[in-house]
């Protein structure tokens, strides 16, 4: 169940320090249910760190984040997560079906029965990956791998989908196909999603709103508005973005 205010994620003055570096500082934004948000910005700008806080893998040292109406830890099993393309240990004998089912049950399947197999098939068919069902992950292309990982994320029927540069390391054709798939799935399933990306095409095709992070939140709003100033000013300026109402209540 999402927050009654219709907000899937609320960050208030969020700050994270890793080692000696302030990775996120004073970041406040709210994401509405059903909204598709793209996080953009330079490498090291805190985009992945923002996702890790949302997943409960990192604790902020300042401010707070609410996900699906509660703490990130409590929301974890309601979040679908698609990591950057993974470099697999080739020896690990994982198939697409096993990966999908592992996320559903929280354990690697020892053997796959008929019912499990149908559930894995159904999840993969949502992303056009049904032919990959019994394929070893080690033999898949970059685009195919991310398709399987998207099925893995969707199999738990997530209320929020977090995608961390899913097309990094994927060739141009694979990237184009994956973005098309993501647009199709987002529209069909009315997903609430946060996508970290470096690709303008992804922003233009998918985003309802865009956040530009470079340690601080430098721009935040609809794509035209948030990105429009970039070319005109040569860089994003500190945005006088609207602070989420829920932050004031804290």
């Amino acid at each position: 169940m999402s927050d009654p205010a219709g907000l899937a994620l609320v960050a208030c003055d969020l700050g994270v320090t890793l080692g000696a570096r302030r990775v996120l500082d004073g970041v406040s934004l709210s994401i509405r249910t059903g909204e598709f948000v793209c996080l953009v910005g330079p490498n090291g700008g805190g985009k992945t760190t923002f996702l890790k806080v949302a997943l409960g893998l990192l604790a902020p040292d300042a401010g707070s984040m609410q996900v699906l109406g509660g703490s990130p830890d409590r929301a974890r099993r309601r979040i679908g997560y698609l990591p950057q393309r993974k470099a697999f240990v080739r020896d690990f004998p994982a198939t697409a079906a096993e990966l999908v089912l592992a996320n559903r049950s929280g354990a690697w399947p020892l053997r796959i029965g008929g019912r499990d197999r149908e559930q894995a098939r159904a999840a993969l068919s949502r992303v056009g990956g049904e032919p990959l069902l019994d394929r070893p992950l080690a033999g898949l292309s970059g685009g195919e791998t991310q398709r399987v990982f998207l099925a893995r994320a969707l199999v738990i029927e997530p209320e929020l989908l977090l995608l961390d540069e899913p097309t990094a390391g994927v060739d141009a054709k694979g990237r184009e196909e994956f973005l098309e798939l993501l647009a199709e799935v987002a529209a069909r399933d009315d997903l609430t999603a946060v996508l970290v990306t470096h690709h303008l095409a992804a922003v233009q095709r998918l985003a309802d709103r865009v956040a530009y992070l470079d340690g601080r939140l430098l721009a935040w709003g609809p794509p035209q508005e948030a990105l429009g100033g970039l070319e005109a000013r040569g860089a994003f300026q500190t945005g006088d973005h609207e602070r989420p109402v829920l932050c004031e209540e804290d």
Partner: protein
């Protein structure tokens, strides 16, 4: 293979005890090895074997007999395993680096402990380094059976979650798998199997029981469950065959077992390439 080939060695009581010890260690080590090999931790089992030397030496220093020193080495090596895990997680250093530090330290402590013993107490250090499966005492055999049973039950219960954490610790943690606790479990079980294995083939060769059957099975099987089943079969049969061969060839038993396991590995490598 004639009936006498098996019956003659097994007519001897010490050979029956050795066969039980070898097959129990071969099976439990191989099952554990599935995760050790998949996680790229082969050096860890080798490092823990050297740490066992420190634990055995400490046992001897406090007055235990060579057999009873095992009961000091078990917690000592388990502590070293936990320390390796803690340093690896806390420092961000690789597992090989943390293992390298503790393996050298524990071995050095072993040398110092032995030096502190009264000069009148003689000790066969060679037996400690190379083991003697033919001279397994009932006490050590009992310890082996306990450790092997514990290892098998723990791995069977944790198999699916351990597999998920082995595939990807971050994704497993997000799915609710207790990744850190499972890593500690794996390290402690490895320490226990290594310590009892040291009495069989010694400090130098014991990690072969863990690494070689699992590596061989990884070359041949297509699923994790298949790798586990095949590794156990290879560990048990390889140990038994090596022991019987050593009897007929009048060769060192531990070394012959390891050579037999390694022969299966190279045959699998050849088959896979062919």
């Amino acid at each position: 293979m004639s009936f006498d080939f098996l019956a003659e060695p097994l007519a001897q009581g010490f050979m029956r005890r050795a066969l039980l010890a070898g097959t129990v260690l071969g099976g439990a080590g191989a099952l554990l090895g599935v995760f050790i090999v998949q996680r790229g931790l082969a050096f860890l089992s080798d490092g823990l074997a050297h740490a066992t030397f420190g634990g055995m030496a400490l046992g001897l220093l406090v007055g235990a007999s060579p057999d009873h020193a095992l009961w000091v080495a078990l917690p000592f090596t388990a502590l070293v395993a936990v320390a390796i895990g803690a340093v690896r997680r806390g420092s961000g250093l690789g597992s090989d680096v943390a293992t390298g530090v503790f393996f050298a330290l524990a071995f050095a402590l072993g040398v110092l402990f032995l030096g502190l013993r009264p000069a009148k107490d003689s000790l066969n250090v060679e037996a400690l380094l190379f083991g003697s499966i033919l001279a397994i005492s009932p006490d050590v055999l009992l310890a082996m059976l306990i450790v092997a049973s514990l290892t098998t039950v723990a791995l069977a219960l944790a198999w699916s979650r351990l597999a998920y954490a082995t595939f990807d610790p971050e994704l497993a943690a997000l799915s609710g798998v207790p990744v850190a606790a499972l890593e500690h479990l794996l390290l402690v079980l490895t320490a226990l199997v290594v310590v009892v294995g040291v009495k069989t083939v010694g400090v130098i060769l014991v990690s072969a029981f863990i690494v070689i059957p699992a590596a061989t099975a990884t070359l041949l099987a297509r699923t994790l469950a298949g790798i586990g089943a095949l590794a156990v079969i290879l560990g048990v049969v390889g140990s038994a065959l090596g022991l019987v061969l050593s009897y007929h060839l009048n060769a060192a038993s531990g070394a012959t077992i390891i050579v037999t396991l390694a022969a299966a590995f190279f045959a699998a490598l050849f088959l896979r390439r062919g």
